[in-house]
Amino acid sequence: MKSQRLQRMAVTSASSLLAVFVALCICAVILLITGKDPIEAYKTLFGAAGDTKVLQGALNRATPLMISAAAVAIGFKMNLFNIGVEGQMRVSLLATAVAGAAIRLPAPLHVLFCLIVAMATGALWAAFAGWLKVKRGVNEVISTIMLNFVALSLVAWAFDSFFRVESTTGSLLVKTKELPTSAWFPDIVDRRLNGMFFIAVLVLVLFYVLVWKTKFGFQLRASGANPGASRVTGVNPKRMIMISMLLSGALAGLVGMRALLGDVHAYQNNLAEQQGFNGIAVALLGRNHPLGIFISALLFGYLGEASGRLQLIDIPKEITTIMTGIIVLAVVIINEAVKRWDDRRIQHKAALALEAVAVPA
C-alpha cells in the first residue's frame, strides 16, 4: 500500500512539474514571436534566485497565496468551487481595519483579536453563498462570482462614506484610521518578510491535520467524492457544504492580513487586490495538497518577485501572468490525461487478474 501511495505521489508531482515545463516552453515561443530572447529572459528570471532579498520577497508574496489556496482547496475537497475568496477577503479587510483601530488591547491580544475578526467576517460573507447553495440550491460558482462584485461595491461604498480619513501627510492615498502599533504583525526580516508567513505555514499544517487526520476530514472527503454513498453512512451533505464554506471563508478572511497587519496597517483601495483569485491557480497547481500548495505558492511568489527584473532587460513582466494562465490550463489537462491513463492501467491489470483465475472452458 505504502509503495502505491508513493508511486501516486511521484506521478502527481511529475505531472505538476511537467505543466510548469510546458508553460515555460510556450512562453518561450511567445517571447520569440514578439522579438525577445527567451534564454536571456529565463536566465534573468531564475538567476535572481541567488539573491537573498528576492527570496525573502518571494516568501513574503507566497504568504497570502498559501492561505487563499488553502481556502480554495478546502472547498475543492467537498467538490465546492469557492471563487468568492476575493470578495470574502475584501469584506474582512475593511471590517478588520475598522474594528482593529477602534479598540485598545495589549500587543499579542490585539493581533489575535484582528485575526479573529478577519476570520469571522470572511466566514460570514461566505455563509451567504453556503446558505444559497444549501437552502435554495444555487450553484456556488455563480453565487460567489456575483457576491464578489457585491462585496467590491459594498466595501468601496462603506469605505468612502464612513471610514475614510483624509491623509495628514499630504499624500493622495486615502486610508482608514491607522491601526495602533499593538495590532501590527511583526516582521521577520525588516520590511521584507512578515511574520504572517508562519501563520500561513500553520494554516497549511492545520489544513493537513483537519482533512487527512480527523473524522471530520474523512467525512468531508467522502462527501465530496461520493455524496450519495456518504449520506447512507449518516453524513449530512448540506451540513458538510455549510461547514466547508464557512471554513473556506474564514481562511479567505486571513488572506489579506499580511498586507493589512504586516504592511499598510490601514485599509485602502486595491489593498491585497487579486490575492484571493490567485489562490485558485496555486491550489490547482498544488493539487489541493498542503505540501503541493506550499511549493506552488513559493513558485508563484518567486515569479511575482523576480518578474520585476525582466523589465531591466526590456521584457514586459506580464509574461509571468501569461505563464500563470498557461500553467493552470496545462496542469488540469495533464492531470486529466494522467488520470485516464491510470484508469486504463488499473482496468488492464484487473482484466489480467480475472483471466488468471477464470476456469478455462
Partner: protein, 418 residues
C-alpha cells in the same frame, strides 16, 4: 396569469416592456424626473447595454451547447485589445472584425480544453481570464508603448467612425439633404401627458442617434433565436446542451457542434469588447471591460438562457448606468419604480397564495419608497452592484422558473456514460 403564460417569449418581452413603460410614466409624472424616459436616456441605455447584450448572447451560445463559459470576461478583454489594435491600424470596422476573429480563437481554446481534454469548465474559464488579462497587458507594452497617443495600458486612437442613423419622419432623419420632421421628438416634449411622451421617447431612442454596430448587435437577438430554435443546426446545438448522449445516439456530431458554438460564443463576447474600445470610445484601455463579462453571464441566467430574455436583462441592467451617466438627479426616481414593481409582484404572489413572499416584497417596496424620500443621491456603488444583486435574488427566489440547459457544465466524452 394563464393568458400571460400562453404568450411566447417575444410577446412577453413586449408586454413586460409596456408594463414597465407605464410604471416609468407614472413615476415620471409624479417626480418630474423627465429624463427617465427621454429618448436620450433610451439611446444611451442602448449603448451601455450593447456590450452586456453581446456578452449575454455569448453565454447563451456556450451554455446551450453544454459548456459553462466563465471566460466571457477574458474573451471580452481580448476583444477590446484587438478591436483597439485593428481600429488603430486599419480603421473602425477592421477593428471589430479582428476582434471577432481573435475572440473566436479564444472560444475555440476553451472548447479544446473542455471538449478534447475534458477539463473542468470553470477552471478553463478562469485560466482564460488570467491568460487574456496577461496577454493584453503584455501585447500593449510591445505594440502600443511609445506610439503616438498610445502607452503601456492604452492604444492610440482608432481611425474612422461608424456613422449614426436617424429614422426619417420618426426622429428627424435626413432624406437626401432634406430634414424630415421630428414627429416623435415633438410628442416627447409634451411632458404633461401620461404614457404618450414616454412611448415616443422610447421609440425615438431606438431609432435616433444609433450606431450601426448597435443595430447589428441588436439584430443578433432575433437571429440567435431563429438559429437556435428554428434550424436543424440550432436543434442539434440545444440537444448537445440538454442530453449529448441522446444526440450522439442519433448521429449528432456533438464535439464538432461544441467547437462551432464556442467559436460563435467567443466571437460574440469579443464583439462586445470591441464595442467598448471602438464604438463606445475610440481607444483600448486596460481594464475597460470592468466586469461586464460577468454582468453578461448574469443576464444569461436572468434571461433564462434565451436571447430575448438576455435582451431584457441587458436593457434592465444598462438602464440605471445610462441614467446615472446622463443626470445623477434622475436615479433616485428608480427607487420608486422598484417600489411600484415590487408591489405589483406582491399582488401576483398574493394571487398565487404565497403570503410570506408577498409580505417580503411589500416590505421591500416600503423600504425602497422610504429611501426615495430620504436620500438625494444614489451612490455609484449601488448602481454598479444592482445587476449582481438582482441575479442573486432571481436565483434564490425564482429558481423554479429558471430552466438552464440540463447538461451545461457536466463532463461529457463521446461514447461514454451511455
Amino acid at each position: 396569469m394563464k393568458f400571460f403564460k400562453s404568450l411566447t417569449t417575444g410577446q412577453r418581452t413586449v408586454a413586460l416592456s409596456l408594463g414597465f413603460m407605464l410604471v416609468l410614466s407614472i413615476v415620471r409624472l409624479f417626480t418630474n424626473a423627465d429624463d427617465i424616459t427621454s429618448s436620450g436616456t433610451i439611446s444611451s441605455t442602448l449603448r451601455v447595454a450593447t456590450p452586456i447584450l453581446l456578452a449575454g448572447l455569448a453565454g447563451v451560445w456556450a451554455e446551450r451547447v453544454g459548456i459553462v463559459n466563465i471566460g466571457i470576461e477574458g474573451m471580452m478583454i481580448i476583444g477590446t485589445w484587438f478591436g483597439g489594435y485593428g481600429a488603430w491600424k486599419w480603421g473602425s470596422w477592421a477593428g471589430i472584425a479582428l476582434a471577432i476573429v481573435a475572440g473566436s480563437l479564444v472560444g475555440l481554446l476553451h472548447a479544446l480544453a473542455t471538449v478534447r481534454f475534458n477539463v473542468n469548465h470553470v477552471v478553463s474559464g478562469i485560466a482564460i481570464n488570467i491568460l487574456a488579462a496577461g496577454a493584453t497587458e503584455y501585447l500593449s507594452i510591445i505594440f502600443f508603448k511609445g506610439q503616438k497617443g498610445g502607452g503601456e495600458s492604452q492604444s492610440p486612437a482608432g481611425k474612422g467612425g461608424y456613422g449614426e442613423f436617424d429614422m426619417p419622419f420618426l426622429s428627424g432623419g435626413r432624406i437626401g439633404s432634406w430634414h424630415s420632421p421630428d414627429i416623435l421628438g415633438w410628442i416627447e416634449k409634451k411632458h404633461d401627458l401620461p404614457l404618450l411622451p414616454d412611448l415616443a421617447g422610447f421609440v425615438r431612442g431606438l431609432v435616433s442617434d444609433i450606431y450601426i454596430p448597435t443595430i447589428v448587435a441588436i439584430s443578433l437577438v432575433p437571429i440567435t433565436a431563429y438559429i437556435l430554435w428554428r434550424t436543424r443546426f440550432g436543434l442539434r446545438v440545444r440537444s448537445s446542451g440538454e442530453s449529448p448522449q441522446a444526440g450522439e445516439s442519433l448521429g449528432v456530431p456533438i464535439n464538432r457542434l461544441r467547437y462551432q458554438a464556442m467559436a460563435i460564443s467567443g466571437g460574440l463576447a469579443a464583439f462586445g469588447g470591441a464595442y467598448l474600445s471602438c464604438v463606445f470610445t475610440s481607444t483600448y484601455r486596460q481594464g475597460q471591460t470592468g466586469g461586464q463579462g460577468y454582468i453578461g453571464l448574469a443576464t444569461t441566467i436572468f434571461g433564462n438562457w434565451t436571447p430575448f430574455g438576455v435582451f431584457r436583462g441587458a436593457i434592465l441592467f444598462g438602464f440605471p448606468s445610462a441614467l446615472k451617466f446622463r443626470d445623477e438627479k434622475n436615479v433616485p426616481a428608480l427607487l420608486l419604480v422598484i417600489a411600484v414593481i415590487l408591489v405589483a409582484l406582491a399582488i401576483v404572489s398574493l394571487l398565487k397564495n404565497k403570503q410570506l413572499l408577498a409580505t417580503g416584497l411589500l416590505i421591500g417596496a416600503a423600504v425602497s419608497a422610504a429611501t426615495y424620500f430620504l436620500v438625494d443621491e444614489v451612490p455609484q456603488e449601488f448602481v454598479a452592484a444592482t445587476p449582481y444583486i438582482v441575479t442573486i435574488l432571481v436565483l434564490a427566489g425564482a429558481q423554479q422558473q429558471l430552466r438552464p440547459p440540463a447538461h451545461a457544465g457536466i463532463a461529457y466524452r463521446a461514447g461514454e456514460n451511455h
